[in-house]
């Protein structure tokens, strides 16, 4: 005759293992907690990336301030290292002495419609047209980390027509 002398746990050990293990496995399968600290890094090349074509570096959508302004501003780099700003789907209102500038996106002037204090900016030239695709050469050695916004700016009235905050492409 067998005597049950062990504790409650050791007597039911196999039942506990039989129930507990599947629960643990199911829990692991559902949550995969190890993925929390395991990264899976991939690095696929761009489809048909041609090294001779200008590559986009930064891009952003234009938002209107004083006047309705829309479109996209993108900074490209050519294969020989020159950079330019390209406006596409672009439309703004026509005006006197309108310029394209690069400014700092954290500049508090960009939150307002009219610039009241000194605007820290890089001049790219007079606006070529108030509609349509257009390119503006960037001066060599512009710090694009610092000047990370493109603005359409009316010099005569210190009015910001539109702002595009540029993000890495």
């Amino acid at each position: 005759m067998k005597e049950y002398t062990g504790s409650w746990f050791s007597r039911r050990k196999w039942i506990l293992v039989g129930v507990g293990l599947p629960i643990l496995v199911a829990g692991w399968w559902a949550f995969r907690p190890e993925k929390f600290w395991i990264n899976q890094v991939v690095n696929e090349p761009a489809p048909f990336a041609s090294s001779t074509d200008p590559q986009p570096l930064y891009t952003g959508r234009l938002e209107g301030k004083v006047h309705q302004t829309s479109g996209r501003a993108t900074i490209y780099q050519t294969s020989d290292g020159e950079q330019y700003l390209r406006l596409t789907d672009f439309t703004t209102s026509n005006g006197p002495d309108v310029h394209v500038l690069l400014a700092r996106s954290d500049d508090e002037n960009l939150g307002q419609e009219i610039v009241k204090s000194q605007l820290d900016s890089v001049e790219l030239g007079s606006l070529k047209g108030n509609q349509g695709d257009q390119n503006y050469d960037l001066p060599a050695s512009v710090d694009l980390q610092k000047y990370n916004a493109a603005i359409i700016y009316c010099e005569r009235f210190h009015a910001i027509f539109g702002v595009a905050r540029l993000e890495r492409f």
């Binding site: 929390f36 890094v41 489809p47 996209r72 993000e167």
Partner: protein, 146 residues
């Protein structure tokens, strides 16, 4: 006669070499960027850029760059018929229409996904990194015209 054949062959070789190069270059520059947008997602800290590229043969490719999200179980890349999506949004519950692009290849790094032929990009306007197991949106990138 033999000389003629040789001349013709030489000419053919020339035409083939340069013609092929010109064709290859034309194909290269016919890759077009259609749409782009940046990811937002705070709960699962998702960031990076999503771009739709049209290849020379008309096929669409979704490319993720500077991409980062949290690793998780059964995570997929999908296009959804919505303008944007909140963190942890459940598209099953909201019965949002979607297009499946495949399992997420990695939670970090540049990666490409084929977009099925005939996908209407004017309808499916947002890329979502979606956990199928828990029906939760890890991050969304609303696409805008490039």
């Amino acid at each position: 006669m033999v000389r003629n054949v040789k001349t013709v062959l030489a000419l053919a070789a020339l035409v083939f070499t340069f013609g092929w190069q010109a064709l290859a270059h034309a194909q290269d520059s016919m890759t077009k960027t259609l749409e782009t947008g940046t990811f937002h997602g705070k709960v699962h800290s998702t960031s990076g850029r999503a771009t739709i590229i049209q290849e020379h043969d008309g096929k669409l490719v979704l490319r993720l760059t500077s991409f980062k999200t949290s690793n998780g179980p059964d995570v997929h890349v999908i296009l959804i018929a919505a303008r944007d999506a909140d963190d942890d949004a459940n598209f099953l519950k909201s019965s949002t229409e979607r297009v499946e692009l495949g399992m997420l290849k990695g939670n970090e790094g540049d990666q490409n996904y084929e977009v099925p032929d005939g996908t209407d990009l004017s309808k499916f306007q947002t890329v979502s990194i979606y956990c199928e197991r828990f029906n939760a949106n890890f991050g969304a990138a609303p696409l805008e015209k490039f």
